[in-house]
Symmetry: D4
Subunit: 146 residues, 8 copies
């Protein structure tokens, strides 16, 4: 039985691609979904579809319409949500997705470095599993599939 | 008919107290609930109740148990959630609460300065109302009560 | 035991005021809630709170933020929803509110003149009660309270 | 992974057929469902199945029983709902379906011409994506599937 | 703390009135709600509100609109549902209400004479409490309130 | 796309078998589920699995445990529920299943002869489609699948 | 604003009475509900209401009908559930209530001595707060009410 | 149509393996899921993934994070939950899983020896089916699939 995993987190490097590859190497029946991983495309998708907007705020607003469409559809289909935090970027989307996953009763795997223990303590306490690397998250998912 | 408003956001200044006072001056039938506003008490509540923990991570973990108890109980009772973001602090709890509110179908009022439009764009797009100051949020709530 | 009734429908005349008065004359323990009934105020509330917007579309968007806040809060508290249709205006908000009420499992009372039977047939078939005047709706509510 | 899209809107021209064809040309794994597209068949289906009714109102009522059966079954299976509005027809069913989709937590894509911005402003504010043509809606769905 | 009890069952004798009186004598903080207890009024309420209908079926249909409005509103508010069956009448409404209560997660107290054990066995197995008289149901409710 | 249909109703003749055959002849992608159709087996299944019980009431109770297991599992998987009523038998299980389906938001097709219009009026008013024969119900399902 | 607390756990000593008294001494606006605290009455309530049963199993079954009625009604009304475990008794009811509370999204406070850490580890991990004494649980509730 | 069965219960012997084999011999389309069946692996999985913990309590806590992840994912996918109790071990996890299944509306099959009737009476009364051996549970599932 395959599991669908939503990968919440920043879209500035290829951590999702690495995770997909490791899961494939281990032969795990996991389907990964997540936000758009091309950052420029993510920021410009609203204007690409709807045309130029009157100002930056509305440019952002339209991009978010389409990005949130994507997130909502795949989050709804996910069996489990993995949220990755790092020491860069605001990552409010990641926390937003984590809050939605918890409220929807979907188990959340929180991945965060030890330095972020304090600011993420409430989020960690409501997560199902808290680890420090995506590989550990994969270990937990592999255990579910044993 | 009274409305219960959960006030998500940082606990480093007295913005909630100011909001309560303004609501009272305007005679609005609003009951405000929110996290513990004394920051030290919030951080130490786990050890105060459960005794000393083996390390900082578990100190944080126990504090979060009690803080999340508080948040979950009042969020559940809230008719509407107000989430305030500013330019300081990580504010991941605020985004977490916002995500939970949205998923629970509770209307969210997002309060954030113009500088934060871009990093909060997805959260803003899913909020019910987006304003720049707590006073504007109060205006919106007053309109609901007219 | 009091019942909360949400009054969906156009805001161009005083039908809600008349209904409230008739309910009061009959001594019915009904609390009526609904959208803003001052049409200009409804259209301008976004700019009043958030300031001038870059164009008409965004003026409308901001007004809708606040109007929808109001609708969502009172619809959530309603025990029953009354939706009034007439031969004027688009009334898409009314149909939107009716759809939301049905999906939320709240009983819907549809009030519409006989001329609108055909275009409202699907909505009528999913309503709990279909009548032709607000007085008849009040009769049905009075029967519930007997 | 295929997505099911419910196509709410008028049934007087072949817009759904065009959309299906464009999706197929782009190789998008989308399954489109929606109301009966043959208008006469839609209006007469009640009497075809149940026999002649005592008057027009009940003819409409029986047709709606069967049309609503169809709508409810496919809406329930839909991952996302697209609601098309134009400048003709009452389109209360479309607004009804949109309200039900929003309340059910299904993302709504609203397609409407610029002339209808004002009367659809509340509906637009609660939609996940607002565009002006079915092609733009398809662009948004394609982005979800990237 | 008061409890709201919905009294499903036939409306041909005064069993509800007797139950209310016994509860009052015992000083139990119970609020009883239920269907219209005047049988003629129940059957004619549709035509009284909406006027004469084209045939008996539609007379019944309109009466049911209003009776179901009543049932749905009070069932929604009930903490517990009591369903009384006897050896007379079809009592399909009673079984319908029982099914709805079970599905809604509301505890059901089934009251039925020993002769009806066999035909009510599936319903009994899903009820929370099964007794043979309304007095026994009251005993169970009194125990909850101890 | 296949639809799962739960067939509630008496188990004293082969109406389900006939319906299955007609659906097959028309090539409709319908999967029919329902209660045990062998009446003796249905009544004795509790004792067959659990051994002899102390009296008839508990014999019935154990049979109902297993029959309700079956009903709950397939009702949960059903996209639509068909409830057949006739002029024989108590049929309280049928009404119970209908009530559960309505409350669960599953569309209900009620099949009943004209003689039963009056005693089934409340149930009919909450059903999605009301017809007089299983063939008409099949017509309605075929229409959904067009 | 008062909070309703359900007190799950054994009924062999007066721990609930002590907790109620301490809450009162501290002036906390808490309403405590829970199972029947008189053990004999709890075991015999089925036969007291329904008369003698054919064997011990069915004596237990009938008692459980009434005890579960009580538990379900008060659990549904609870804002928070406190589950106390000790080193005596099976306490499967306590774990059952805890599982139901967690699944219902109600915050759970687990009270258990240090010796039971290992056998209660999965339950503890899903609780909102884990403490070793009822007094600590009261401290946590007092913090929520600050 | 295949059914997914979650097997809650102790992990100290091979009862699940035996059940799987019997189901296979009977050709039943059942997919069994459950907790990790290797007891040592279950207890150490937290430290295996996350490294050594400061004390036994936190060793247990981390193991539970991963074990609960597994339970939550498969319970969510289960159509029915089987809970096995025996005369050894605390089995609080089993009762916890049973409580969660009941609250989630998933039918529960309770398997327990006659000696445990009394301490499991409340749990039994809320189960859908109560039997004394896994083979009887399989009989009940086979009956559902007839």
């Amino acid at each position: 039985m395959e599991l669908v995993v939503y990968l919440a987190g920043q879209i500035h490097d290829d951590w999702r691609q690495q995770l997909r590859q490791k899961a494939e190497e281990r032969g795990l029946p996991l389907i990964f979904k997540g936000p758009q991983e091309d950052h420029d495309r993510s920021d410009s998708i609203g204007e690409r579809i709807k045309g130029e907007q009157p100002n930056k705020e509305y440019r952002d607003h339209t991009a978010s319409e389409v990005n949130n469409l994507r997130t909502r559809i795949w989050m709804e289909k996910a069996d489990v949500v993995l949220a990755l935090f790092g020491d860069q970027y605001r990552q409010w989307n990641t926390a937003l997705d984590a809050g939605a996953a918890i409220q929807a009763g979907k188990p959340l795997i929180l991945v965060r470095p030890a330095e972020l223990i304090h600011p993420l303590k409430e989020l960690a306490q409501r997560a199902q599993v808290v680890v420090e690397s995506p590989e550990q998250a994969l270990d937990a998912l592999a255990y579910v599939l044993e």
